[in-house]
């Protein structure tokens, strides 16, 4: 638990992970608590995407451990992680373009029982009213902002305790990004879900974030060095 008494949802300890045995992440330590939005900032190739995919289980762990709600999930298959409580909205949205909005949401609920899928679609529809009006529309024909909302909504279908959102502002108008962050705040306001948002430096939404982490060359910068790193990044950013 943190100082506010919120339970730990995700704990990453001394994580080394990468592709084909080559480490991309080095000794990463992260802790996320229920009810907080944590922004993970880094430049292209810094390791944000690899970290999120390692937590999802599609990049192998070389050393270290990942704990979700106290369980060591380091060697679990992705479907088991999803059913235990991780939702992931990947970079580029990756909605199923040839399926309708409703079908996308149903796929997001694959690990749920059939009886609960419909209820959860209604719940997610309340969170994203714009999607509720477009249930029968093909996802590929939605606007970029609507597709981003669909990607987050799809990740919410299993009632996750950890929601990971990768580059939600990519290619979207500021007003749309604002709406997405409002929804993320609404999600964490219940105090049960932790949200990890990976963004580029210039896209950071400081107001919406409870904490900011910086990753550089596969290493998460300790809080003590954070101020100097973000200042340097701000100078580099356009």
């Amino acid at each position: 638990m943190n100082a506010a008494g919120e339970p730990i949802v995700l704990e990453v300890r001394q994580l080394v992970a990468g592709y084909s045995g080559h480490a991309v992440l080095h000794q990463v330590d992260i802790e996320l608590h229920a009810g907080e939005i944590v922004s993970l900032l880094g430049a292209n190739g810094a390791g944000k995407s690899t970290l999120l995919k390692t937590i999802m289980g599609t990049v192998p762990v070389i050393r270290g451990e990942i704990h979700l709600l106290g369980q060591n999930i380091s060697d679990w298959a992705p479907y088991k992680r999803v059913s235990t409580g991780i939702g992931f909205s990947p970079e580029g949205r990756r909605v199923f373009a040839n399926l309708t909005v409703e079908e996308n949401l149903l796929i997001g609920a694959t690990s749920m029982s059939r009886a609960h899928r419909r209820d959860q679609i209604n719940a997610v529809g309340d969170l994203f009213p714009v999607l509720a009006q477009r249930m029968n529309q093909r996802a590929g024909t939605l606007s970029g902002g609507e597709q981003q909302m669909l990607a987050v909504a799809r990740a919410m279908m299993t009632k996750p305790r950890l929601l990971m959102v990768e580059e939600p502002s990519q290619g979207l108008a500021p007003v749309v990004v604002e709406r997405i962050y409002e929804t993320l705040r609404e999600i964490v306001s219940q105090g049960e879900v932790a949200v990890l948002v990976a963004e580029q430096f210039q896209q950071v939404n400081e107001e919406a974030s409870d904490r900011i982490l910086v990753i550089d060359k596969g290493v998460v910068i300790p809080d003590s060095e954070l101020a100097s790193v973000t200042a340097a990044a701000a100078e580099v950013a356009p």
């Binding site: 990947p90 399926l99 079908e103 149903l106 796929i107 997001g108 694959t110």
Partner: protein, 332 residues
């Protein structure tokens, strides 16, 4: 042109299209989830044809100790391995096809292998096919001896004699069953893919496999199921082909190439378009064989057939942005 053969071509071509519809169904199903061309189904079809021949015909092919054992079980079959009836033989072959393909799917859809490149997986599939064709060839069956059909040997006049000035057109039970099965299979698959959650998952994986995994889809389980079903269909194609043209593994490779070309008509995604391709292929082949266009030599027949298929593929590709895409969007 011999227009008096028009109805003959239409009916016989339509029915023979059934045989060409099976392998494209298998290829499309597996392409949807793996993005690779499952050449392995050609091997399963070849093995299916040979196994059906062995199961359903008396022969001395198997090693002596098996024959001796069989004789002990059934003394009436002295000198031969006891044959099974055609229908259970067909069911056994279909089950073996499903098991072989399911096992292959279980292996290639594992987390480690599914992330390999499409080219690598296609070559693995080619290797599996060549292995199975090799095993089939080792069995050295007599391709000139055709096994019986599981649906009886009946022949039916399809057209009244007044509608054709040539020999009356006879259609076998096997051809009718083949046609009905491919139509029935397509309908069942259409319902399965559009009305069940597993069907929805298969369509989602066709769009984006990795995103499906992030949504909690059990890729290996779905892959094993799809490969198993498509392997059963490929084995059935082998059985029906062995009854029609004989159990020759080399013929089965040509049959696979026909099926692949037909599947490409549907962009390897659309079952309805592929079945239309199979129909056009069956009609063209029948028209050439019965002399609708006059006397045409075998090599010219092959050139015309593949030329026609290529033309269809080019036309479909040109229409892809609107009509074809629309069909693909609603593809079964």
């Amino acid at each position: 042109m011999h227009f008096d053969l028009f109805f003959t071509v239409l009916l016989a071509g339509g029915i023979s299209a059934g045989l060409y519809g099976f392998l494209p169904i298998s290829l499309i199903l597996t392409y949807r989830i793996s993005r690779t061309i499952a050449f392995v189904h050609g091997g399963i079809a070849a093995l299916g044809a040979i196994l059906y021949w062995i199961f359903s015909l008396h022969n001395d092919f198997l090693p002596n100790y098996i024959i001796t054992f069989s004789q002990a079980q059934d003394p009436k079959t002295f000198g031969h391995r006891p044959k099974w009836e055609p229908f259970p033989s067909m069911l056994a072959v279909v089950a073996i096809g499903a098991i072989l393909a399911g096992t292959y799917g279980f292996i290639v859809m594992s987390r480690q292998l599914a992330s390999l490149t499409v080219l690598t997986l296609t070559i693995v599939s080619l290797g599996a096919m060549m292995g199975m064709v090799g095993v089939s060839s080792l069995m050295n069956v007599d391709a000139n001896v055709f096994p019986d059909s599981p649906f009886g040997s009946g022949r039916h006049k399809l057209l009244p004699e007044s509608m054709t000035s040539h020999q009356p057109l006879l259609i076998t039970n096997n051809q009718i069953f083949t046609f009905l099965t491919v139509v029935g299979l397509s309908l069942v698959l259409a319902v399965f893919l559009t009305r069940t959650h597993t069907g929805l998952v298969i369509r989602a994986l066709a769009d984006d496999q990795e995103a499906g995994v992030w949504c909690g889809v059990k890729l290996r389980a779905v892959g094993t199921l799809v490969y198993g079903v498509s392997g059963a269909i490929a084995a059935l194609a082998g059985v029906l082909t062995s009854i029609t043209v004989g159990a020759n593994p080399a013929d089965m490779l040509v049959f696979l190439l026909d099926g692949l070309a037909i599947a490409i008509v549907g962009g390897l995604r659309s079952l309805p378009l592929s079945l239309i391709g199979a129909l056009l292929y069956g009609l063209t082949e029948t028209a050439l064989k019965v002399g609708f266009f006059g006397e045409v030599s075998l090599p010219v027949q092959a050139v015309v057939l593949y030329g026609a298929l290529l033309s269809i593929i080019v036309v479909v590709a040109r229409l892809r942005r609107d009509t074809f895409f629309l069909l693909e969007r609603q593809s079964l």
